[in-house]
Structures are given as structure tokens and as C-alpha cells.
Symmetry: C2
Subunit: 302 residues, 2 copies
């Protein structure tokens, strides 16, 4: 299992470990309460990912991957594993409270996929091609293609080893990164047309009305990562995305370029949370009012 | 020296080799006929890059880096090195005709920066911090952050070694990729507002009038890589950028997603050239006429 609203590291870690265990003759189920996101359908054997069944088979071992708190597995997963004899918790989130019977939490690892690779090496488990591809995608997506500060020398050596094992580097990256639905580009255009700089160019913000989600038929992961594009503007310290939700509330996502502005502190003022580089708020609308309040606090912090 | 309109691999290779040679006690000049692009100003010691002087100092060895043909060094570079006793030509472009007295052309290398790394290792030359950073940026920018098919297992092992040597991975990538001038984002917005899909969604094209260049005060490298964003749309096989030049001619840049459409063949029809994945044309305007002609040929090829 992996966390709800799964990303590349969540799905990739499930496939990586599961396919290796199947190769060893184990029976493996791959459950996620939100199922397989469209963006990960290209991964070999990804159709093994399913919703947890209402009537679960007998489970010996429940494995939670890349999931910082048990509750983020989703209720249906927890219910389906109620009879499991052993809970294993493998993750790279610092805040993970070690909710398993066995816990392997390594916050120095940039991705859970890299931990799976290390476990496979250490236990001399098989590393079939599906595992190879899944590990690469898990780690590449969680490091912004080997760019983030969390990337380690081990990460690059692992990628080299995966290539030695036959990874098709151009092909897998094209499938991971060059395969966006058109509606994502339409969303980017809509957002750019609302782009505003404030605080003397140190804050970039854009917004989306709920009507846009409806008219472009957006899916939850369509906006994934777009905010990085305005955080990347020279001189910008904080990027903010104001998103009107179906219930009229406003979701605010903030990204800071470095430690100079702690966006978590700003989120806390409005009852939100996160960490210093990435934080979020859910607050009352309308969007114009939310913008005014949040941008004022950010300007103050700067 | 490196090629005109220099990119990360051109400037990075110059600094990487030059700083290593300086560490060995050599006197090194760093010349480029277009000077240092703004996007590379963050590289340590990049202020060493200058235009070739009109009255050149005495040169023992002229080294051309990442430059497929001698003419792409620019006339001023060639003139400034007229007295050189030896020409060295280090490059990774397949088409390089070996115009030096000594040639090291390795088309299996994804970047000239990686060749410099291998030369430094083989000759046990020093690898100062400036060289380390320059090699990383050269290779990262020429592989789309370790994604392109040209990336090799050696590329990843090299990156691991550079990290062992103290490379600040998060910092250098932030400076390379998260530091765009605002006008680049304005350009992206303008382009997206002209985006059109044709040939049943297999062709994505956008256009820019010369007036946009003027009003946004664009520099030559501001549009670098933007076309990849529409090539990445699911279902798109060819992305096309129509750009009106100051003289009224139209520059057409084409990118193909894979071998299924050879954009070089299409460019050839209009007197242009390139290779199967990336090709260009310079043709008569107005932009609407150029679009009609080129898009018709692409549709035919598809």
C-alpha cells in the first residue's frame, strides 16, 4: 500500500517491491485507495494497482510504503489489512512516527524507491525489469530529475546500476515527463494569464477558479508541479497558488525558494501547515479576500 | 573557445578545462564571440569568459570545445588564434569534420563536459571546485537533467563522483534551473496564448511576432527549451515554433518526439536542416503563410 493521492514514489515503490517479491514466489496485492493515477499508467505492470477490495483476502504481511502516517493509507486499506500478522512501514519522511511492527524510516533517502533498492541489494532479492523501471521513476520524480538537495551520490550510483541492468533511459524519461494531457497545458495558460508579482518582485502568485476545473475537466494531479515554474522566476522568493474549491473554500499552496522565508510559519497563522519550503492553507473565500490576507502576511515576513 | 550562441555545455566546458589548466600553471584565455550568456553568470569564475580581443596575445594552443565546425567559433575567435602552433578540437557532435591538429570527438558522450571529465581523469589533471561545478552544469544542461537518451551509466557515475568531491547539488541546480528572468515567463504566456493543435492533435504549434521580442526586451536564450513544453503534450508528435525575425523572415523550429516523424526531411523541403529530432528553417514571411506551408508538409509526413 501507499498513500492517498499517490505520486511517482508511492506507485513506483509499490511496484518495485511487489514485483521483486512476486519473483520470489510471494503472492502480492497492490492497493491504493485512490487507485492508479493516469500519469503512472505507462509503468510496466501498473495495472496491478487496484483499490483495496471490500472483502479482503487473507494477508500475512501488510507493507506501507512512502506513507508518513498510517491514516494517509486511507481507511479502506487499513480495514483490508485488519487481519495482517505483521505491519511493515518503509518510508523516507522524517516525521513518520514508526507505526509498523517493523519500521525502516530513512530520512536521508530522497525517495522511498531508493530505500527499496537498498533493501533489495542488502537482502540479495531479485531485481526484475519491472522493479528496475519502477525504482527509477520513483526516485526521478521525487528528486525533480536528480536535482533536489535531497539527491545523494548513492542516488546517481543507483541510476548508473539501473542503466547497467538495461534501463531504457530516453524512453522512460519521455514517458515520465513528456506525456502531459493537453488540459494541463491549458491550465498552465489559464494560470499564467492571472500571474501577478508583488512585494517588489519577491512574490509570484496565480489563481484558479473552480469553474476552470470544471471547464477543463481537470484531474487532481494536473496541477502537480506547475507552481515550480513561477518559483523559478529570478528574484522570486515565494510562489503562491490560490485555488477555489467546489465548496467555495480557498486552497492556498506556498513554495519558498530557500530558507530566507519560512512559508510554514505563514501557513500556521491561517491554521495551515507544512514545512519551511512548502506549506498549505485551506481558508474561507472569496479568492480575492484570501489573496489579500495571505499576500499581506507574506510581504510582512519578507 | 566554444561555439557562438553558447549554451551550458559550451561555457561549462570552457571553464572546466580552463580552470584545470590554470591549476597546472598554464595561462588560459576564455573566448566566445557572443560572450557570457546571462543564464550562465552564476557559474564560478564565469567572468573569465570574454570576447576575443582585437589584438590577440601570443597563443601556443587553441582549443575548440563543443563546436561542430570551425566556422561556428566565429571569425573573431579564428582570427585571434591565427598564430597558434596547435589546434585541439574536443567535441561530442557526430558531424564534426575533425578540423584540429589533434581531435577528440566522441559522439557517444552526451556532452563535451563529460569528455573533459574523462580527459582530466585519464591524464590525472587537477579537478578544482570550479571545474567540478562547470562539468556538472555542462552535462546536466545537455542531457535535460540526466533524462535524454544520450545519458549513459558513466554520466551518472560521474555525477556521483562530483558529489563526493563536494558539489552542492541543490544549490547548483537551483541556480541552473530556478533562475529564469521574468520576461521568459511572459514569453511563455504569450506563446501559450497562440498555441494550436492540428493534424488530429499530432502537431502543436505556437508563434511569436517580432513586436513581442521588442516589447518584452527578449534576449536570444530566453526561448531556449520552451518548445519542449508543447512537445511534451500527450499525443503530440511534432512541435513547431514560428518566429518572426527583425528582417521579416520567419524562423521555424521543429521538434519531433521520436523517430516516427523525421523533421529534418521536412526542413530540407524548405532549404533548412538539422537532424531527425530537431530541425530548423529560415523562410519568407508573413508568418501566416509560412505556417500554412510548413504545417501542410508536416501533416503530409504524418
Amino acid at each position: 500500500m501507499s498513500h492517498l493521492r499517490p505520486d511517482g514514489d508511492a506507485i513506483g515503490s509499490q511496484l518495485a517491491l511487489g514485483l521483486a517479491l512476486e519473483e520470489m514466489g510471494k503472492t502480492v496485492y497492490y492497493w491504493n485507495v485512490d487507485g492508479l493515477p493516469e500519469s503512472m499508467e505507462f509503468l510496466p505492470y501498473s495495472d496491478k494497482i487496484s483499490l483495496p477490495p471490500e472483502v479482503a483476502p487473507l494477508i500475512d504481511v501488510a507493507v506501507a510504503l512512502d506513507t508518513a502516517t498510517k491514516v494517509r493509507l486511507g481507511e479502506a486499506n487499513i480495514a483490508a489489512c485488519a487481519q495482517a500478522k505483521l505491519w511493515v512501514n518503509i518510508d523516507h519522511h522524517m516525521s513518520n512516527p514508526r507505526y509498523g511492527d517493523m519500521n525502516y524510516v530513512d530520512a536521508t533517502s530522497p525517495a522511498t524507491g531508493q530505500i527499496i533498492y537498498e533493501i533489495i541489494q542488502a537482502l540479495q532479492m531479485p531485481l526484475p525489469d519491472g522493479t528496475r523501471d519502477a525504482i527509477y521513476v520513483a526516485v526521478s520524480t521525487d528528486t525533480g530529475s536528480f536535482q533536489y538537495d535531497s539527491t545523494t551520490a548513492k542516488t546517481y550510483r543507483m541510476a548508473a546500476d539501473l542503466m547497467d541492468r538495461g534501463l531504457k533511459i530516453g524512453q522512460i524519461n519521455a514517458k515520465t515527463y513528456d506525456n502531459h494531457p493537453y488540459r494541463r497545458v491549458e491550465l498552465l495558460r489559464t494560470l499564467l494569464n492571472t500571474l501577478e508579482l508583488s512585494a517588489a518582485g519577491k512574490v509570484a502568485s496565480w489563481e484558479m477558479l473552480d469553474a476552470t476545473r470544471v471547464s477543463l475537466q481537470l484531474q487532481p494531479d494536473d496541477s502537480e508541479g506547475l507552481i515550480d515554474m513561477i518559483r523559478a522566476i529570478r528574484g522570486v522568493q515565494v510562489a503562491v497558488f490560490f485555488e477555489e474549491l467546489p465548496d467555495g473554500k480557498i486552497r492556498v499552496s506556498m513554495r519558498s525558494k530557500d530558507r530566507s522565508v519560512d512559508v510554514c510559519k505563514i501557513a500556521t497563522i491561517f491554521g495551515g501547515g507544512g514545512h519551511y519550503l512548502a506549506a498549505g492553507i485551506r481558508m474561507a473565500g472569496p479568492i480575492a479576500a484570501a489573496k489579500e490576507l495571505v499576500l499581506a502576511e507574506i510581504a510582512k515576513a519578507i
